[in-house]
């Protein structure tokens, strides 16, 4: 295009100039010759200039192509032309929906574990019931912090109870393997305490968790952990809590009512096996804690020690089709204080072991055994709740589940529960759990 334009312009210039020459007289021939010579020279100059320009253009074109190629090779290809908007910074949000159908041979409303004051709920409700609906939002706050907010909504009769499960910030880039967490969060003690219940392998928590931790211990506090710079996973952590949650109560010690320490170790054993094990301790103080239908009041200290072991197996370390998970925890509970005004000091034990097997993609079976043993207390009507009358609570649980995808699950669970004195409580639970929104991230 440029070349054609240049030629046309030079031609026009020549024609115009020759017109002038034609009008001139013969006596000016020499002058005209001179002019023609000058014109020829100018035309030659123009041609050279055009050639120079053409060469420059060709160079520029080559350079441009090279630049483009280079850009294609190194610069990010924006594959997703999503429009930029404020919404692009929205956190990952997911909701968990849960519903149950329960059949119990004994009335769940007077559920108890012999010898233990319960801080939470029992095995569920008869008939159709909605489980906890959970809403979680997680995002990086900036380059130093991530933040997470989890709310749970629970239907209780005609009312909807909203509770704050977790609301915390956590550092992402402290040096030396350190990580700090602040806010309300589930304690890292034990194996399953920090796990949200919908990620459990059974429809309800082990009896020991139910009795000693009201299913899980979570409170407002600060956590500091250190991850060792080793190939074997070693994490050491310590937490300080306000002390408002069972087994603590009343934010004792001027609002530092509970603290914990733990160490976790884990690794792979070949390609097929991996494990995680650990020891944790939780020290709590309770001030005027009320539990149960009898409104038992406790003031004193409760320490919970936990040892856990989890071993997973998958052929070639690929759990998609088949995998096995073994999980066991032993809990030791020591309480010392005034129970309904009577001084008590005793040690209790609880343990469970469970095995789940995914035998084909989507399908899993599992078995769990629970055992509890309450320490002895003097015969006193005020200590009735703590008196197991020599009964060690046990429970056998079996489940079968179908996972259509990572986002949905239907589970059928049978349990023979001897938490209470007397006949065993036969429980059947049919449960669905579904996750909507962002992909859930489940810890090991």
């Amino acid at each position: 295009m440029n070349r054609t334009l240049c030629r046309a312009m030079s031609l026009a210039f020549v024609v115009t100039t020759s017109g002038v020459a034609h009008a001139a007289s013969d006596t000016d021939l020499t002058d005209i010759r001179k002019q023609i010579d000058a014109l020829t020279q100018r035309q030659a100059e123009d041609t050279r200039r055009i050639q120079d320009l053409e060469a420059a253009l060709a160079r520029a074109e080559t350079q441009h192509a090279a630049d483009q190629a280079k850009q294609a090779a190194s610069a990010p290809v924006v594959a997703n032309n999503a429009p930029t908007s404020a919404g692009a910074f929205n956190p990952a949000i997911n909701g968990v929906l849960d519903g149950k159908l329960g059949v119990f041979s004994r009335d769940p409303s007077n559920y108890a574990i012999a010898g233990f004051p319960l801080g939470g709920e029992g095995p569920g409700q008869r008939g159709l019931a909605l489980g906890e609906a959970e809403l979680n939002a997680t995002a990086n706050v900036d380059d130093l912090f991530m933040g997470s907010l989890t709310m749970s909504l629970e239907q209780d009769g005609g009312d909807t109870e909203v509770s704050l499960e977790e609301a915390f910030i956590q550092t992402l880039s402290l040096p030396g393997g350190l990580q700090a967490t602040a806010g309300k969060f589930l304690s890292d003690i034990g194996y399953m305490n920090s796990q949200h219940e919908h990620a459990d392998d059974f429809a309800d928590r082990p009896l020991a968790y139910r009795a000693f931790l009201a299913n899980s211990f979570g409170d407002t506090g600060i956590r500091m952990t250190w991850l060792a710079p080793t190939i074997t996973y070693i994490r050491v952590g310590g937490e300080v809590f306000r002390g408002d949650s069972f087994p603590a109560a009343g934010a004792a010690n001027r609002g530092f009512g509970a603290h914990s320490a733990y160490v976790r170790v884990g690794d792979d054993l070949g390609t097929d096996f991996s494990y995680q094990t650990g020891v944790s301790w939780l020290w709590t103080d309770a001030r005027g804690r009320e539990t149960g239908a009898l409104s038992d009041v406790f003031t004193g200290s409760t320490d919970v020690g936990i040892a856990h072991l989890v071993v997973k197996w998958a052929p070639n370390g690929n759990p998609t089709q088949r995998n096995v998970k073994f999980q066991a925890e032993v809990l030791r509970n020591h309480l010392n204080g005034d129970f309904n005004g009577v001084g008590v000091e005793r040690t209790d034990y609880g343990a469970y072991g469970q095995l789940t097997y995914q035998f084909m993609q989507g399908w899993r079976v599992g078995y769990r055994f629970d055992w509890m043993s309450a320490g002895a207390v003097p015969a006193n009507i005020l200590l009735a709740t703590l008196d197991s009358q020599g009964h060690d609570a046990t429970r056998h649980t079996a489940m079968l589940e179908y996972n259509r995808s990572e986002f949905s699950r239907i589970r059928l669970q049978f349990a023979s529960d001897r938490s209470r004195l007397g006949a065993s409580d036969n429980q059947i639970l049919l449960q669905y759990t579904a996750t909507i929104g962002a992909h859930p991230a489940h810890a090991y």
Partner: protein
């Protein structure tokens, strides 16, 4: 007293852990998948120490955030992963739990390969009823060796930035790799000429990049929806539907359940080809070059 005992036990463990720490001189690379581990070794040579988080026999969609992976990420200087939500179920968890500033998303040491290639199969609709789809497009870019070139170039710059003293060594290894790789691609294309236009079935949508590179025709997937295992009734229906197109083989990744493709082989005489999918997927694919050698050899063998 009890508290003191526990605290001293913890301190004891800490000191054992510290003693076992070795002083790493080489750049520690955490590679999410074996193909990126192999590529990192090509560019990094002896200046890097590479850990592959997964093997060719593991489904990269379904990895658990195992303790060993958290520990490895804690010590990484650079993380090279696929991105495009392939690792969405485990990598964010590792990043949070390892809390290593060097490899947090956005840090200079965090690298996603899919950012540097033209993505295929960008979904027009995002709905989980469509199965496990990826919002950023099909992440299985390593099935086309041409994608290794832009990824290698971009990753070289990451290494050059993180380990500036050896930048020139990385760049010269890249240049050597580019020369060798360009020649290798030409060789593979010649070798694979008979595959042009061959209609194939695939287990999962893992092969779009390879199918397009070699000019094959991807007719259908055995999975009814991405991530869902096929049932025999679905497969029978599928075979009826595609009979007219005469598929010549079914491509299955080594880590995938091969029952569906075996059923197709038994009922429709369409051979199943176990593909390495990534480095180490099959015994003949132990290196990055061998991955494509083996893939093409296996496809050609099925054609006979």
């Amino acid at each position: 007293m009890k508290n003191i005992r526990i605290v001293s036990a913890i301190l004891g463990l800490c000191s054992t852990a510290l003693l076992s720490t070795s002083a790493f001189a080489a750049v520690q690379v955490f590679a999410c998948e074996p193909e990126w581990a192999a590529l990192a070794k090509e560019i990094g040579g002896a200046d890097v120490e590479v850990f592959a988080a997964t093997t060719g026999l593991q489904d990269p969609h379904q990895i658990q955030a195992r303790p060993s992976l958290i520990a490895r990420m804690r010590g990484a200087d650079v993380a090279i992963c696929t991105g495009a939500e392939l690792e969405t179920g485990w990598l964010p968890l590792l990043a949070h739990q390892a809390a290593n500033a060097k490899v947090q998303p956005g840090a200079p040491g965090y690298f996603e390969a899919t950012k540097y290639v033209q993505m295929k199969q960008l979904p027009t609709a995002l709905d989980r009823s469509l199965g496990d789809i990826h919002a950023s497009g099909n992440p299985h870019i390593q099935t086309d060796p041409r994608n290794m070139l832009p990824v290698a170039a971009a990753f070289t710059e990451v290494l050059a930035k993180v380990d500036g003293a050896k930048a020139e060594a990385y760049r010269s290894r890249l240049a050597a790799f580019q020369t060798r790789w360009t020649a290798a691609i030409a060789g593979w294309e010649t070798l694979a000429a008979p595959l042009r236009g061959v209609p194939v079935l695939t287990q999962h949508k893992s092969w779009v990049y390879m199918v397009e590179w070699l000019g094959m025709k991807d007719i259908a997937q055995l999975e009814p929806k991405p991530g869902l295992a096929p049932s025999t009734s679905y497969l029978a229906e599928l075979l009826d539907k595609v009979a007219a197109e005469k598929p010549r083989m079914t491509l299955v990744a080594a880590y995938e359940d091969d029952r569906g493709s075996k059923w197709v082989m038994d009922h429709a005489k369409i051979p199943a080809v176990t593909m390495p999918f990534t480095v180490g997927g099959t015994p003949d694919a132990e290196t990055l070059t061998a991955l494509y050698d083996a893939s093409i050899q296996r496809l050609l063998a099925a054609l006979k």
